[in-house]
Structures are given as C-alpha cells and as structure tokens.
Symmetry: C2
Subunit: 561 residues, 2 copies
C-alpha cells in the first residue's frame, strides 16, 4: 500500500519534495533589482532548498513538516559579493597577513615574528601591505624588509595585488639587478638617482618573483577553500563572483562540490581564454551542485590599479607627471579576447580602473555589440575612475558596473593624490552610475578588502569610513540609498552573474539563501549597520553559520507535530 | 495522510527506492574474479541502478513496479575494457581511419579520396595505418604519401600511436630536413644510404609535427565523446579504463556527466603528474555521477611499442641488430613519478612492452612497496614481452597485468620478426601469467584495436584471428578458458580499477550493467563468439543500446500491474 502510494507519486513527480520547512515569525525583507522592498513574515522551502511560498503578514501558516521559529528577528537575502577572489582569499588566510598593520615598523615586527614562527619555510610569503595606510608616502624598500628577515627570501604582495615587495634575498633569487630591464607591462621600482632595484615590483614585473614561488599544494588549496568559506558565511556572504578563476581554483571548487563541502555559490570567471575553454568547452557550464557553481565567462585585465599607479589614465598621474599607467592589452588584443569569449556565449568581465581603460572598454563593447547581440551583460570590474563624458554610454548595451564601496574609503586620500582635484568627479561615482541607468553590482575585491558586505553597505550610504571620516562623507553626493546598496549586494549582483531566478531574492522559485540579523539594516545608521550581528547564515535551506550547534543538514530544525 | 507516510519513510531512509525493476526470465551469467560462474534467472534493481536481488532458477519472482521480460535470452555482465583511450577513439571516429586498409595502394586511394572530400581542411589528419598489415616489410615513405596528397600537409598516426607518417608538405611545415637531429626519445626514419628524412617519425620525434596540428575544438571533443560512447555501448562495453587522460579529456568527461550525457563508466588515469594533481588534488577523486567517473591515478610510459621498434628490450631486435628500443624514463625518473603518485594514494599504471621495461617496472614496484604498502594494485599495461624469469615476481606485490588479447593476433608475425624465436616464450603469455597467480585484466587499447571485447574473448580462448589463423593457434598453450577471459573483461577489470563492489559482477549491491546476447559465450566456439549479437546494453539499470526504441530513462519498461 505504501509502495503503491510512493509509486503513484513517483510517476507524478520525478523528484518529489519529501519534506517542507517553514521559517516563521520573522521580520523579512527582500529587494528587487530596483531596490523596491517587500516585507514578509515567513518562508516555506522544500528539500531542494527552493522557496515554495512567501508568507505575508497576517497570512495563516501552512502545515509543514518542520518549523523554524525566527523569534521575530530580521531576515534579509543572503549577500552576494560581486567581485572577489575566493582562492586568493583562502590562501591569504593561510599566509602572513599584513592588512591590519598601521605603520612600517609594525609590519616589520610582524614579518620578523612570523619568520621566527616558521623556521622551516624556505620562503616567507604574505600579502596585504599598503604604504598609504602606513603614511609612508613612498613604497617600502628591500633594505627595510631585510631589517625584518635577511636569512631567506621574503615576498609580500601589496593589498591590491598589483605590486610586490621583495627583500634582497628574493631579488637575488630572481636575479633582479640594476641591469634588469622593466618587463613589458611592469615596472621595477629603482632607488632614487640610480638603476638599483628598490624592492617593489609593479604589475607585470611581479612575475619575475611569482614564478619562483612554489605553488600551494593541493591539500593547501582545499584547506584554503574551507577557510574562505568560513570567513564568507560568517560575514553573511552566500554567493560570490570569483574574478579570475584558474584551472586549479576550479578543480578545488569541484572537489568541494563533489565531496559535498561546497557551501557558498560561486559564479566563476576564468583567468584566461585557455582556462575558459578547458573548463567550459563550447560554452558556459551548466549550473552545478544545486546552483552552487557555474563557469560564466572570462575576466580580462585592461589596466592595473591606482595605488601602484598602474591604472591607465587619459592624462598623467597628478603625483607622477610622466606616467599614465599601464595598458595591459592593446585595442586589438582586447577585442580579440572579448570576441573569443562572446562568440561562444561566455560572459565578459573587464577590469578597468583608469578613465582611459574605461573608455576603451566602452568603445570595445560598442563595436562588439553589433556582432554579439542578445543578453550579454558585459561587466566592467571596478569602473573606478570614469571620464564624466562616458557615464551616459554605459547603460546603452546594458553594461554592468561591478564596484567595491570600501575601495572608496580605503583609497580616497591616495586617489586625491593620484588624480588631483579635476578627475574626482568621475571617481567611485555610484550615484552617477545609478542616475545614468547603470546596473550596479557591489563587491569587496577580497582579499584586497575584507569580504564584509555590511561594511560595504555602511560605506555605500555614507561615504565615510569606520571612524566616520571624513565628516559628512567624501563627495557625499555619490552615496546611494540603503535599498540600492542592498539590491547591489543581492538581486543586482545575482543578475550580474546570470543567477537571477536562482538566488538573490527571497521569492518563490529562488533558493532559500538568507541571513538572520539582530537589527534591520534599512532602519539603521552606518555605525549600527557596521555593528549588526549576523546570527545565522542559511544557504539553500541549510543553516551554514550561527545557531546553537555546528551547521549540519536538518540540524536545528524542529519537527512540529 | 500521504504526506505523513512520505515523511515517515523519508525519516527512515534519506533516499528511498521509489520503484524497483525486475529483469526476469533470462539465462543469466556472472563470474567472479577467479572465473567461477554463477547462473541466475532474474535481477531486481532500484532507481539508482543498483542490484537489490539476484533470482536463482526456481525462485519466485517478487512483486515489483516494472517488469522487463528477458524472453529466455542470455544475460552477461557489461564488458569492461581495461585499457583504452576514449577521446582518441572518439577523435579517430571524426578523422580519416586507415585501420581497415589492406595494402599501401588501398590506403593511398582512401587518403586521396578523403582529401578531395575535405578541400577546406588545411591539414589532412588520420590514423590507423600498419605497414605490417600491408605486407610492406618497411615503413611507407613521404613520397608515397605525396602520391596521394601533395597540395597540403598530411599527418597520419600509426595504428599503435607510436609513429607518424608525414608527406613532404608536412615535413616542410615542421622544417624537418637531413640536418635535423633525432630528438631525445625519438627517431626520424631516413632514406637508405643517407640522412634524408624518409617520412615516418617514431615516438618522441612525432611531437615535431604533432605540435603544429591545431588541437580539436571543444565542440569536436564533445562530439567525439558521443561517437566513442555509441561505438562502445554498441559493442557491449559498459566501462573503460582510460589510459592517459589529459585535462581536456577530463573536462570533456565532466561536461558529459554534468549534462547527463555520460553513459559509460570511466576509470581515468592521468597523462602526467600535473594533470593528476590538477584534477585529483590531494588524492584520487570520489566516484562521480553514480559510479560513472573517477580519477584513479596516473599512466606512465616506460617504453614504446614493438611495431615501431620502440619497445625496450634486453637484447637487440632480431630484425635490427643495433637497436634495443627506447627507454622513455630512466630508473630515477620512473621511481620519482611512481612515488609522487603513490604518496597521495594515486594508482600507478605503467606502460611496459619490452622485457627490459617489464623488468624495470617490477624492480621499481619491489623497491617502492617497502614505502607504499597496503592495497596499491600496481598495473603493468601491455606486459607484452616478459623475461620468463620475471613471471614469478609479478604477483608478489599484487601487480596486475593489463593485457590486450587482440594485439596477439595483430602482432604475431611482426613479433616473430622483431623478437626471433627465443624470446617468444614470454610474449603475450596470458596463461603463464594466470598460472603465476597474476591478476589479468583485458582490454583493447582502442583506437589501436577496435573496442570489441567479444573479439578479444574469441582470441583469448583460441590464439587464432578472425580467419582462424594460424591453424591450432599461435603458441596455443597461452590460451585461457572462456571463464577466465570473461572474468578478465568484467570482475578482474573492475578490480584493476578499484571498482570492485561497484560494477563488474551481477551481484547484490553492484550496478545493473548487463548485456542481452543472442547466445551463450560460454557454450560457443570462437567463430560463434565473434558472431554473437549484442541485443541490448544496459548501464546502471538503464538501457543505452538496442531494443525497439532509442535509449531513454524508463523507456521500454513495462508496468506489470
């Protein structure tokens, strides 16, 4: 009899929902792409983690198999980081982290202590330094690094990933001397008044040392992904656009998916054409692991970063008159690579920071849109310094601006120095983007910045940093509303990764990715938003962070009958 | 009420079997690793394609949801090809195939016709030629290929993959002249009495031209896998050990798995250490897609092949007194690579054809077994020419001999010429292997030979080819029983790929991979075995070949109530 019943159901529905869960008694918030807010009191989701019903206030709760009492708490959609480097983030959690150092001396002490703790490591590897944060006004030198560690090579990546700081032993290993010419697309910083390498290598020059570093072992990669996921879900990040996925990164994601260890959702952009083709083959992959992984397309780099003066500007840097930055691809190369991806329906995301780079990408999109029509969702990553004349062009082909709010507070003094006053009008111009009809997706660029979307939201609405500086906000006319910021971290970020309809909103048919918070970010001031506690993070109807016990399937659910 | 019932069951069993199928009224055969036969009249398998019950003669059939009437036909386990090259097989099905040509003139005509059919192809690529089959007694020349196609480069791989035949245009493209030295591990055949390249390049020298050929496009790879699968399931092959999987091959397998297009089971052995590490990371992958794909380990090449005189022999070739073949890895390299794999529990399969190569692998396994204990299942691929003193050593560490019966009939005249009479005692010595307690796994080396296990079984029990030559069999004392041959293509081949308990036998808990035949191979003579019709091929409880309609889930099953 039971078997008959099962069979009959099986014939009706190949994958029957065996048990539904009701998340009830919450102060629920969802936003659409335009930032229009809907409120709800409950969600019902099935065993596949898909929302089957959204309960409005006053609606009667249906009978379900499990009920989770939200105890009146605030629930928002899981936050999506539209630009991060998942494996770099994870690896950075396994290596020396200098991102919180406030002075050169503090960094030197930390480096020396780390080297002493790891006497067996042939190289000391780390990242996260920023001479601007240190108030140094110049790059640090090899001699200053030798003062911390001289007995073996040290190689420390700058916070933006666009420069590295070597000690003398590392320069010797790489055979970098006064006679070494700057490699194409890169620069060896020199000591004043000579050719002697100073210690810092910019952009293309970093490969001179990067190529000597032994790559992480596979087990280190697997561990790094565990660490990255822990950090992300603890900060309420349920999905990430991974910008520049290598074949090794992808395989690490797949191992996690294959072994049931993949928690977050990853929208992947390959680091180069061969990797894109190797993985996707004739086109983007299908969505894997219940919408947890997809190779969407490719990430291209058109220029460097502002801090290392690698951003490609139309006029020279205000603080380096002979320098307009680095154009990493010429016009033909850019168009060829974009075409190569677009012809097979891969999505194209182009890193463009300087105003020259942004103009060039827009020109290329204009030209390619004749050939590659339809729903392309071209992405500009960073779009940090835009020629004001260009804003009106961005939305024409539906191009998405993928921007990182916290860069604005980290960069503002440096940006003023690099750009001078006249070019600031187009810098970190979120509101101008929005006013021009541009789709905005927000991210962290982790590990360049910490992957903390609530910090990003606080910055986005205030243009002030965690200390409230500058008073009143930096160019506050570029702040956006709470609703816009929330949409840029949810529905818009999902749309930017072709994930709309799968996750990003708390609507019927989408995945039940949500956060339980201790307050309502739409009713909080920036300080309160920063202080918000993420009580629980759920992905696909499973709690992966918070609560009374470690996350495990069905754990924490209560049977109501 | 129904929901309550469902919930109760769901709590008892997370993945309940919703519908069982009974394959009834068959003359069923399964063998264990030792070739012991069991007979059955029916199988019950669940929706995961796993066998839940084996019905013996006289047992009452249980009530099930679907019943498939076998109409008294013979059912045997799906056949496993323990050594094949799935993607090369598929690609070969998309390119010019010379494997059935009987004379040089016939090959020339076929090449010319193919070139005329494909005027747009800048290169003419093909494979499968064999100067021995043509009775040529020497390699063909560039001039003989020019006679077929002179207007563009032609490059044709020899049947064993260890040599290639170029026309003059291809030699020009590769800039191969009388001044070109033989590359390491390879040989440029020269015209008699001079240095002028003759047209054939052996082993390492083939890369001089291979490197010029544009790689297949991703969509070609996907299509090639479709073609390979069609050919395999049509010949009753339900699982394959893929020997030398590249990263591109693996991604093609994964795309098929991700998109539900992977029918056959693939036990994969990476082509090199970087590929092994890229895919497996810290160890072999889990079994993917319901036991359809796993990266088991690595394939290493220690020597070349006999036909091209690349097999590494202890004494010179009988027909080339100055030549002992090619040792492709020195002893240190071999041990380092084997260690690199074994330390992370990857399985090691070493190609060894000549008696020197086989001795060297056995020495290496002896040495490494001190360090890498446990269930290693070291594999020697081919083990074609073994020093008789070595047979007793093979079983000591459980090493598996992965051999290809049809090579014996294809090679016998060539082998006699290459080896002379004294070394034949250890050649293609299946029965001697068995008598020494060695585990035997049989395969085809497709596309070197056609992937037709029934042909392999006919050869294995007779030592005669399809024409019945030579009368009485070549060294017939090395024939094995039908039962041993069937085990080597099923249970033993599964064991050799760490798949025992998953597939290979028709036993409870294993996957329902089986063939429906028009006769009993255990009661048939070699000619009858060759003439056996494969009526249906089922993998994981789904029919993938044969029957009245194209294969589709649930298609062809009859509801019995």
């Amino acid at each position: 009899m039971i078997r008959r019943t099962l069979l009959a159901l099986a014939l009706l529905a190949p994958a029957p929902a065996l048990a539904d869960t009701l998340l009830d008694n919450v102060d629920g918030i969802s936003v659409d792409r335009e930032g229009r807010v809907t409120r709800f009191r409950g969600l019902v989701f099935d065993d596949n983690g898909r929302i089957t019903r959204v309960l409005k206030s006053g609606e009667k709760a249906p009978k379900v198999d499990y009920r989770e009492d939200g105890r009146g708490r605030v629930v928002i959609p899981g936050l999506i980081d539209a630009h991060a480097h998942v494996m770099s983030l994870g690896i950075s959690l396994l290596t020396l982290d200098l991102s919180n150092t406030r002075t050169l001396a503090e960094a030197q002490a930390k480096i020396a202590a780390y080297a002493a703790e790891h006497p067996d490591r042939p190289w000391i590897i780390g990242r996260g330094w920023n001479q601007e944060t240190w108030g140094l006004g110049r790059f640090p030198t090899a001699a200053e690094l030798d003062a911390a560690v001289a007995d073996r090579p040290v190689w420390l990546e700058r916070v933006d990933g666009h420069a590295g700081w070597a000690n003398s032993a590392a320069l010797r290993e790489a055979n970098i001397t006064a006679k070494t010419a700057d490699p194409s697309g890169g620069r060896i910083e020199r000591l004043p008044g000579g050719k002697t390498p100073a210690g810092v290598l910019v952009d293309g020059a970093t490969t001179l040392i990067d190529s000597l570093i032994p790559p992480p072992r596979p087990e280190d990669r697997d561990l790094a992904l565990v660490k990255a996921q822990e950090l992300l879900v603890g900060n309420g990040v349920t999905a990430v656009a991974d910008m520049g996925t290598s074949a090794e990164d992808w395989m690490t994601f797949r191992r996690a998916g294959d072994e049931g260890r993949l928690r977050i959702r990853i929208m992947s952009y390959a680091s180069d054409v061969p990797t894109m083709q190797l993985i996707g083959g004739p086109g983007p992959t299908v969505w894997l692991y219940d919408d947890r992984l997809r190779m969407n397309g490719i990430k291209l780099y058109l220029d460097g970063a502002l801090g290392s003066r690698g951003a490609w500007l139309k006029a020279p840097y205000a603080d380096d008159p002979g320098n307009t930055g680095l154009q990493l691809l010429n016009g033909t190369q850019l168009r060829n690579l974009m075409s190569r991806a677009a012809i097979d329906n891969f999505q194209v995301a182009v890193h463009a920071i300087g105003n020259a780079a942004n103009s060039e990408v827009l020109d290329a999109i204009d030209e390619l849109s004749d050939t590659y029509g339809g729903d392309r969702r071209w992405r500009i990553e960073h779009a940090q310094v835009v020629d004001p004349a260009d804003f009106a062009r961005i939305a024409i082909h539906g191009t998405i601006a993928s921007m990182q709010p916290v860069h604005q507070t980290s960069d503002r003094l440096m940006a003023e120095a690099r750009l001078g006053p006249d070019r600031l009008a187009g810098a970190y111009a979120w509101r101008t983007m929005q006013d021009n009809g541009v789709s905005l997706a927000f991210g962290s660029d982790a590990p360049v910045e910490a992957p903390v979307p609530l910090e990003g939201i606080a910055v986005a609405i205030s243009r002030t940093d965690a200390d409230g500086e500058p008073f009143g906000g930096w160019r506050p006319q570029e702040a956006v509303t709470r609703e816009t910021a929330l949409a840029a971290y949810t529905a818009e970020a999902a749309y930017a990764g072709f994930a709309d309809g799968r996750f990003g909103r708390l609507e019927v048919g989408e995945r039940a990715d949500f956060l339980v918070l201790d307050r309502d970010p739409l009713l909080s001031n920036p300080d309160e938003i920063r202080a918000t506690r993420i009580l629980q993070t759920w992905i696909g109807g499973m709690r992966v962070f918070g609560g009374d016990a470690p996350a495990r399937e069905d754990e924490g659910r209560k049977i109501t009958r």
